[in-house]
Every structure is written in C-alpha cells, then in structure tokens.
C-alpha cells in the first residue's frame, strides 16, 4: 500500500490535541487514534504517501525504519478495513517539513485504531444519507 486518502463521502474527522477522532456516518461507528495515530491520520489527510509517513515517524521518534513501516502499514490496513480511507492514485505530495509533529518526548507506541459501536443504532435514521454516487457503484453523479 503506497497512498491512501480519507473516505470523505462517508467519514467526518478532526484532530484535537494530537488525537484523531473519526465517525463513519454510513454506519455510526466512531474511532479514536492517539498521538502517533493522530500524526499518521493528519499526514494521510494532507496527501502524504505512506512512505513519507513512515520516514517522518522514523526521524521524529528515532525508531528504526522497519518498525515505522510495519506500524504504518498495519494502521493503514485497519483504516482500509473499516472503510475510513480509500486507495489514492498519487497526486502531488506536500512537503513533509510542514507537518505539525506531536512532542517526541511523549515517546513512541505503535498506533492503535480504537473502535466504538455503542451509537450504531442511534445513527440509522438521522445522519446524512449516503451519496448517490456510492449507490451507483462509484459513478460520478452529483447530488
């Protein structure tokens, strides 16, 4: 996996004090990721490829490259499995020097995607309805 982008048709997300908070409006699942995960999410949102993300983590936390790559790929798979991101086919990569980094003193812990399903039933009726394009199998029709 090289590059991902947020599945913005279904997912709303924000980063607060380094923590990423996401909600999948199509099914009511919501998620959190603490500082390393928050950094990875921010970089995915900004259009960085996963290699850039692993290199930034390697530099910032002084972990070895294999660990950084393995952990980034594991989180990327989890995000994909939950429908929070979709594969992206490139586009221009922003400068990784512009990334806002959490304090390295917090230390490195492998990023976790924490998952919560206690509001699923509450979201059956009220959140925004899915976009038509999705129902059409990924077509381009605007709603």
């Amino acid at each position: 996996m090289k590059k991902l982008r947020p599945n913005s048709a279904d997912v709303a997300a924000k980063v607060v004090d380094g923590e990423a908070i996401l909600i999948n409006l199509s099914n009511g699942m919501y998620y959190s990721m603490d500082s390393v995960g928050g950094l990875i999410w921010s970089m995915i949102e900004q259009g960085h490829d996963l290699g850039d993300v692993a290199a930034t983590i390697e530099r910032h936390y002084e972990v070895d490259r294999d660990t950084a790559e393995r952990d980034v790929q594991a989180l990327a798979r989890a995000l994909l499995d939950e429908g929070l991101v979709v594969p992206s086919d490139g586009g221009s990569a922003p400068d990784a020097n512009g990334v806002q980094l959490p304090p390295a003193a917090d230390g490195y812990a492998p990023p976790q995607l924490n998952k919560f399903d206690d509001m699923v039933d509450l979201f059956a009726l009220d959140p925004p309805l899915p976009e038509l394009s999705k129902l059409d199998g990924g077509g381009t029709e605007d709603t």
């Binding site: 709303a12 997300a13 924000k14 607060v16 908070i21 996401l22 909600i23 409006l25 199509s26 919501y30 959190s32 919560f116 206690d118 509001m119 039933d121 509450l122 979201f123 059956a124 009726l125 009220d126 959140p127 925004p128 309805l129 899915p130 976009e131 038509l132 129902l135 059409d136 709603t143």
Partner: protein
C-alpha cells in the same frame, strides 16, 4: 380514563405537507389528544393552515429559535401526561399512539417508546428513492428521533430539554443523555412513522454542518469515556 397525549408539531415554512401531517395526527385512534403546532419564524402560510383547524389543534408562534428550540417550546406548552412529536413532513400510522401507549400499559417502568420509521420519497425525487431501494438505510430503520417518540412528560424534567445549539443531532444527543441516566426505553419493531424525503430535507441531511455535529457527538462521547469515574 386514557391519558392526554400532547402531539407537538415543530414547523418552519412547512405549508407543503402540513395538512397531511395534521390529518394523520387527527386520524389517531387514541383519544384524548392535544395538537400543538409551533411555528418557528416562517414566511409561508403554515400558521394560517394550523389556525384553520381549531381544537384540538393549537397554534403557538415564536421568533426563530431553531428546530430543537421549537420542540422545546412545544414541551413548555404541553399539558399532556405523555408527549409525542411529529415533524412537519412526516406521517403517523393511525394506531401509532395507541400501540405505543399499550407498551406503557404492559411495562409501567417504561419512560420512552420509539418506533421504526419507513422512508418515503416525495414526487419530485421519487426516482432517487427508486435508486436507493435496497440500501440498508433506504427503507425501514430504527427511528431514534423525536418524530417516533412517545415519552412520559416527567422524563424531560429528569433529562432536560433538547440541546438548542444542535440543529441536526438534537435527538441523538438527547438519547445518549437518557441512556446514561438509565432511562427505560423501548424500540418497537413496527414502522409507526413514515418519514418523507424531499428535495429540501435531503439537502439538509447532506449539509456539512450536519456532519460536523455528528462528529462533535462522537467527540463528546470519547471525552466522557476518559472522564474520571466513567
């Protein structure tokens, strides 16, 4: 004697379907009822339509206070032992109130009863409804929304009113509060409310602010999980 049920209809420029909505309340098999139409601002004939009905339909007008504020005004005006709400475009099954009231008779500890909702599509976007047929959220779904609710009036005194800062997710936030307070609630399996999707409310549901509000609800839930003692 059967208890009085206050049926609160929050309205904002709702003239297109308001008659149908009020007729579906008056067709309820449960009596006694009062119907409180709260017209929030509005520049159309909604107030005149409501006024034309006469008792048990009562009109309350207010300067614009938003959807949650309009429902809260209805709660303030209500005299019933039970409160129900019906949005201006939606319809009830004729036995909606009586079937839910039956649940309270069988379960005296019950405070709130919800029902399933069947979506239906207004003429101008019926084609879109056909395209969505078969989608998990395109037919009958559990309706945790005020438009399906029958509640004992005391529950609003215990839990508090709807949060007027929320324009899209006021009911969701209220349900979470009620759950946290261990309020006894039940979702009936039947679809007793019919929710009309039309151009305006479809656009509203796809509003970016709606997404932000639901994200805010997730953020608050996460903050509560981290709070000491939770």
């Amino acid at each position: 004697m059967a208890p009085l049920i206050s049926c609160i209809v929050p309205v904002f420029n709702g003239e297109s379907h308001l008659r149908e909505t009020l007729d579906s309340i008056l067709a309820q098999t449960h009596r006694p009822i009062e119907v409180i139409v709260v017209v929030d601002g509005s520049s159309d004939a909604s107030a005149e339509i409501a006024l034309g009905y006469g008792p048990p339909v009562r009109l309350v007008r207010q300067d614009e206070r938003g959807p949650a504020g309009t429902r809260n005004r209805g709660i303030e005006e209500a005299r019933g032992d039970y409160l129900a709400f019906l949005d201006q475009d939606d319809l009830w099954h004729p036995e909606k109130l009586s079937r839910q009231r039956q649940r309270f008779r069988l379960r005296p500890e019950l405070s709130v009863c919800w029902s399933h909702v069947t979506l239906f599509w207004s003429g101008e976007i019926a084609e879109e409804g056909r395209r969505r047929a078969g989608h998990p959220r395109g037919g009958t779904v559990p309706g945790y929304a005020t438009t399906t609710m029958l509640a004992r009036r005391e529950v609003f005194e215990a839990i508090g009113p709807l949060d007027e800062t929320l324009w899209f997710s006021d009911a969701t936030e209220w349900v979470i509060r009620a759950r946290e307070a261990n309020v006894v609630m039940e979702m009936v399996d039947e679809a007793l409310t019919f929710h009309r999707i039309h151009g305006a409310n479809l656009t509203r549901r796809q509003d970016a602010r709606s997404r932000d509000e639901f994200l805010q609800i997730a953020e608050r839930a996460l903050a509560r999980r981290r709070a000491p003692g939770s």
